[in-house]
Amino acid sequence: MNVFDEEQIGRLLRLLPPAPVGWVRAAQELPAARATLDELVARAEQDAAFRLQLQADLERAVAAAGYEPSSYVVSRLRQLLKAD
């Protein structure tokens, strides 16, 4: 660690403003989003019709299944469908 006086400490504090509240909240909701993703993946593996719906219109299919189509869920599902 370096040696700082009060003025330098103040300057360092200024370098770390809070991230936008919505970004932080979205990141904090990742565990719930992950659980949603796991449920959707399990359902897609068992239900061919649902899988086709996801491939046709991913966000609408997620919403129609009663889940929040968060950016995390949508991006990870898109990656999984693409990888198949």
């Binding site: 700082f4 504090l13 370098l15 770390l16 403003p17 990742l30």
Partner: protein, 183 residues
């Protein structure tokens, strides 16, 4: 003074599935990741948001793979750095530019942000009301009047409070520096 949990302890709680630990994890490192995106790489807000979310998504998915819980901050820095570079290169493919900062410049920014995180950590240890006053003044750029109204204290006393709290923070920070110095 506030009870402060080390990065390693927090990571360990996250790994055990502690419901509140992930919230604390995001709270503790969100400013750091945000600063790397916006100060280190000067990403536009929408790009910074995508990178920010991807950093925490990968951190959540890969926390179990972390070799040393103590190394979570450099791990996050490296992850953020890599994703910012990917984002800039993707943009450059569409519209070539020389917006990618140099290695040396980036290293300097990251070193300074690490110092800032050490100060932030000392501030957490100092706790409220100093943490609140200093955060509002330095990090949120609030005026004396706004701080006075929010905390219900006379605006005329804010400057002296800031000064006293900075001194307290410096003492805490120096104490940590002394404690971390090899004997």
């Amino acid at each position: 003074m506030a009870v402060e949990q080390s990065d390693a302890q927090l990571v360990s709680r996250c790994r055990e599935g502690d419901a509140g630990a992930w919230n604390e994890f995001v709270e503790r490192f969100s400013r750091y990741v945000y600063a790397i995106c916006t100060r280190g790489f000067r990403l536009a807000q929408h790009d910074a948001e995508d990178v920010f979310q991807e950093v925490f998504a990968r951190a959540y998915e890969r926390l179990a793979d972390l070799r040393s819980d103590d190394a979570v901050r450099p791990w996050l820095a490296q992850l953020t750095r890599r994703l910012c570079i990917d984002r800039l290169r993707l943009q450059a493919r569409d519209a070539p530019s020389d917006s990618e900062p140099g290695e040396r410049e980036l290293d300097d920014v990251l070193t300074t942000l690490d110092d800032a995180m050490d100060v932030r950590s000392a501030l957490d240890k100092v706790g409220d009301p100093c943490r609140e006053v200093l955060d509002r003044f330095f990090c949120r750029d609030e005026s004396y009047q706004t701080i006075g109204e929010a905390l219900d204290i006379p605006a005329g006393t804010i400057a002296s409070r800031i000064s006293r709290c900075l001194e307290k923070l410096r003492v805490e920070f120096d104490g940590r520096r002394g404690a971390s110095r090899p004997s």
